[in-house]
């Protein structure tokens, strides 16, 4: 197993424990290293192993790309003919919270085999990137002592809320928006949320270090689409920095970092601009009209989170709302994928099929989707009255 300096190296170790295959991620899981980690997890599953443990006890940070590895691995295992499980060993408290907010805690098992106090101590000692870079760096010294269960989710979230400052929960939700935007907008190489705090702009969520540097360059020069969107409340689509003349101090710095296209949408509370959602690409003209629409949608979601936060964060309403909405979307999307593969229909066709089933049965599409996903995992696990038995 490789040992690694947590800041500059990444290593993966694979060991066998009885029927489990343990994949240990050592160091930072980010957009670069997550590819290797995903390849290993996929190879283990392809090799016929159905019980996989992802050991995060020596992982120093985990960003949206790492979450994607967890999500993909967990869903692949659940869809195996005899079912499978992905267990996360010793994730930090903040990772556990993000899993809960995204609904991923429904598809993985949490194993607190090793108290993560040492992990948190190392996070603090790595220094520098405590805010915004990854999900893993700022939770402080709070080891989770018991496994997270869906039934205790609301309680756990309230518990976390009580310990962290309110804005910490909001930042967690904004990181979720960043992760979703990064995964959804084609051509996006990085995403961030800038917010006005204490009279100046700060990045509260970013997908990687380059994006943090991009934002920092804009704050330092006092110009750029992120700054203008945050102050003027207008949206900007910079198709290519090659022809851009509006921000002479900022543009050369962005080009040095390899950025070439930018979408910045203002975050509005009431009518007042309070920050911006920024999506960056290394490729000129990477963003199309559909990406502009998605960016506006995510900016609206982030604005809603901010607008809601003052009144409702303390009672967990915000977290519950996000958990419910995102879980529904995810399960319906999974079920659409299953129908598309099984019956060769389009995404819209799959939705229409669900709609007709819902209409005929007076059951919600979410219920039907959950049942189909359970059925796909193994007919014996589904309700005996399931409507998803194949005719052929």
């Amino acid at each position: 197993m490789n040992d690694a300096s947590p800041l500059s190296h990444f290593g993966i170790g694979v060991t066998f424990e009885d029927a489990d295959v343990v994949v240990a991620a050592i160091g930072e899981v980010d957009i670069v290293t997550a590819t290797d980690l995903g390849d290993i997890v996929n190879a283990v599953i392809d090799g016929g192993h159905s019980s996989v443990v992802l050991d995060l006890s020596r992982c120093t940070s985990l960003d949206a790309s790492g979450l994607a590895v967890i999500s993909t691995g967990a869903h692949r295992l659940r869809l195996l003919p005899l079912g499978g499980t992905l267990t996360l060993r010793s994730p930090s408290a903040l990772v556990v919270r993000i899993l809960a907010i995204t609904g991923l805690d429904q598809v993985v098992t949490i194993d607190e085999q090793m108290a993560p106090t040492t992990q948190l101590g190392r996070e603090q000692s790595t220094g520098g990137m405590a805010a915004g870079n990854g999900f893993d760096a700022e939770m402080g010294e709070r080891p989770l002592r018991e496994a997270h269960s869906p039934d205790t989710e609301a309680h756990s979230l309230r518990e976390v809320t009580a310990i962290a400052a309110d804005h910490d929960v909001v930042d967690g939700a904004l990181r979720l928006v960043v992760a979703l935007a990064r995964a959804t907008v084609e051509g996006a190489d990085g995403v961030s949320v800038s917010l006005e705090r204490h009279g100046s702009l700060a990045t509260v969520a970013a997908s990687d270090q380059t994006i943090l540097d991009m934002d920092a360059d804009q704050y330092a020069t006092g110009e750029g689409p992120c700054v203008d969107a945050s102050i003027k409340g207008r949206w900007f689509h910079v198709e290519s920095l090659d022809d851009e003349t509006r921000w002479p101090a900022f543009v050369p710095k962005a080009r040095t970092l390899g950025i070439n296209a930018i979408l910045s949408n203002p975050l509005l509370v009431g009518e007042r601009p309070v920050g911006a959602l920024n999506i960056y690409s290394n490729t000129p003209s990477a963003f199309e009209v559909k990406d502009e629409r998605l960016a506006a949608l995510f900016a609206t979601e982030a604005s809603t989170i901010l607008a809601d936060s003052g009144a409702t964060v303390s009672d967990g309403h915000l977290a519950s709302r996000l958990v419910g909405a995102l879980r529904s979307r995810e399960v319906i999307s999974q079920a659409q994928g299953i129908l598309m593969e099984r019956d060769g229909v389009s995404a819209d066709g799959a939705f229409t099929y669900f709609l007709e089933c819902s209409r005929g049965s007076n059951r919600s599409i979410r219920d039907l989707a959950e049942e189909l996903v359970a059925f796909a995992r193994g007919p014996e696990r589904a309700d005996s009255e399931t409507i998803w038995t194949r005719d052929d």
């Binding site: 629409r293 998605l294 949608l297 319906i332 229409t352």
Partner: protein
């Protein structure tokens, strides 16, 4: 024909007792990709939704009516086409 179907959407929202925000969350949960402002524009006929978008909004309303004891009173785009 589609125009009257869209008017049904706004009347349905009012009858279902949903705020625009509540309807948007239901639309979002079902996988809708339009923004809240666009959904509002669908209701007020300022934008014409695709048949798929129309049916997601219609179904979000119908699921609310089912919760209230009703049975899918809002017509879908395919119903409007069938006449």
């Amino acid at each position: 024909m589609t125009s009257s179907a869209r008017s049904d959407l706004e009347q349905g929202r009012i009858d279902a007792g949903l705020t625009l925000g509540e309807l948007f969350v239901r639309y979002f949960e079902l996988g809708g990709m339009s923004s809240p402002i666009q959904v509002e524009a669908f209701l007020y006929e300022a934008l014409e939704p695709s048949a798929h978008d129309h049916d997601i909004v219609a179904h979000a309303l119908n699921e609310r009516f089912v919760e209230l004891g009703g049975n899918h009173p809002i017509r879908y785009a395919t119903d409007a086409l069938d006449g």
